[in-house]
């Protein structure tokens, strides 16, 4: 416990000098914000610095000044955001300053856009592959199993993507898209749809 206290205070000392980044910064700010003893440490460190710089001790009114300000701040509008948003903002701020250190638990703001772009790209690729396969002439029988097979739990795939920073390779909308393309099975881009051809079969009348 004593070691942890010393470690925290050392972090507060480094925080006062702007030396902390990333998780270390977040932990130190949390400690100073939430714990009265750590807050007192933050105050004394700055008081000592002021005294050394100017000889001005003026610390006796600090408590009253801050308490008075706290009362006024309570009546000010506060931007209310979720704890996750606060962590995300602080994390984003710290991540832009860290050299290559990323918070793996934080999802970037445009991650969902990237996932949808990936899905759209895969869907296009699948559609091209599907049409190309039909042109080769192997689609009259059963459609490719890999394309027809729907994932067992598309909803869970989406959930997993939300919980872990992994690339999503199946999506229910992709399956719908692929299912829609099944209508045009057995044709090439240059041929008419098979259904139309069937309707246009020429029958020789019996004489």
């Amino acid at each position: 416990m004593a070691h942890d206290t010393l470690k925290t205070r050392e972090a507060i000392s480094a925080l006062a000098d702007g030396q902390l980044r990333g998780q270390e910064f977040a932990r130190a700010v949390e400690a100073v914000s939430r714990d009265d003893d750590d807050r007192a440490t933050w105050h004394v460190y700055h008081l000592v610095g002021d005294v050394l710089r100017s000889g001005d001790a003026a610390g006796h009114n600090d408590l009253a000044f801050v308490e008075r300000l706290q009362l006024r701040l309570k009546s000010e509008d506060v931007v209310v955001q979720s704890t996750d948003a606060i962590k995300s903002i602080a994390s984003d701020a710290m991540n832009t300053r860290d050299n290559g250190q990323f918070d793996t638990q934080a999802d970037s703001a445009n991650a969902s856009r990237f996932r949808w772009k990936l899905v759209a790209g895969l869907a296009s690729l699948a559609a091209v592959a599907f049409v190309g396969w039909g042109w080769v002439g192997g689609l009259n029988t059963a459609p490719p199993v890999s394309l027809a097979t729907a994932p067992a739990a598309p909803a869970s795939a989406v959930v997993v993507a939300a919980e872990q920073p992994q690339i999503m390779i199946r999506d229910p909308r992709l399956d719908e898209l692929l299912a829609a393309h099944k209508q045009f099975g057995g044709t090439s881009a240059l041929q008419m749809p098979a259904g139309f051809l069937r309707n246009a079969t020429f029958e020789v009348p019996n004489r």
């Binding site: 105050h43 000889g55 903002i89």
Partner: protein, 208 residues
């Protein structure tokens, strides 16, 4: 003026600002604790009435809090706060000049940047002889604690607090790793704080 340099901790100030804007008021209080004495000294150069100095300082921080979402981080936080303090003090001075009940003695004219106009040891109307003595006592304890420090700790904290050097610069000057600089500065602060904290507790009558 010896050592009158703004703190170098710009990144941590910016991150505290971001936390405040995100809704964490306590992060703003940390900034207040850090800068309140500096802001009060600044305003005291412009306004003689020390009751007004504290009121204007309070108003400065309230205005800063309201405008925090506009702070872009392209300047140091202290510089931005400094401008708010000066503008708030000027506005207060204008209003005071219009008030016929306010004497000229309450006002202080002069350049905002005139360092020589600061008379930091003038007693305030809030201060009793006991509180002035308490402030001097704190300063004496800090200086005595500094003198009692081992040479390497004293040098590290002097370079940081008085000369305003970064950890990297101090490690170059003292020819030691940055981790050692961090440790020495911390140990120096701890040694001084051990002597100062009981004094603050006695004077305020309660813990922070």
């Amino acid at each position: 003026m010896t050592g009158a340099q703004p703190p170098v901790a710009t990144d941590s100030d910016l991150m505290l600002v971001e936390r405040t804007v995100a809704g964490d008021q306590r992060a703003f209080e940390l900034l207040v604790i850090k800068y309140q004495r500096r802001i009060q000294r600044l305003i005291g150069r412009m306004v003689r009435d020390v009751d007004l100095v504290e009121d204007i300082a309070q108003e400065t921080f309230i205005r800063a809090y309201r405008a925090l979402h506009q702070f872009r981080g392209d300047a140091q936080f202290y510089t931005w706060l400094y401008r708010i303090a000066v503008n708030t003090a000027k506005k207060a001075l204008l209003e005071l000049k219009r008030d016929p009940t306010v004497s000229e003695g309450a006002l202080r004219s002069g350049d905002d940047d005139d360092e020589t106009s600061w008379h930091g040891n003038e007693p305030t109307s809030d201060e009793t002889p006991e509180s002035v003595l308490a402030a001097k006592e704190i300063a004496a304890v800090v200086n005595a604690a500094m003198d009692a420090l081992p040479a390497d700790l004293r040098q590290a904290v002097t370079l940081r607090e008085i000369e305003g050097l970064s950890y990297e610069e101090i490690s170059t000057v003292m020819n030691c790793p940055i981790g050692t600089v961090r440790s020495r500065i911390f140990r120096a602060r701890e040694a001084i704080s051990e002597k100062v904290k009981p004094l603050l507790d006695n004077q305020s009558g309660k813990r922070w």
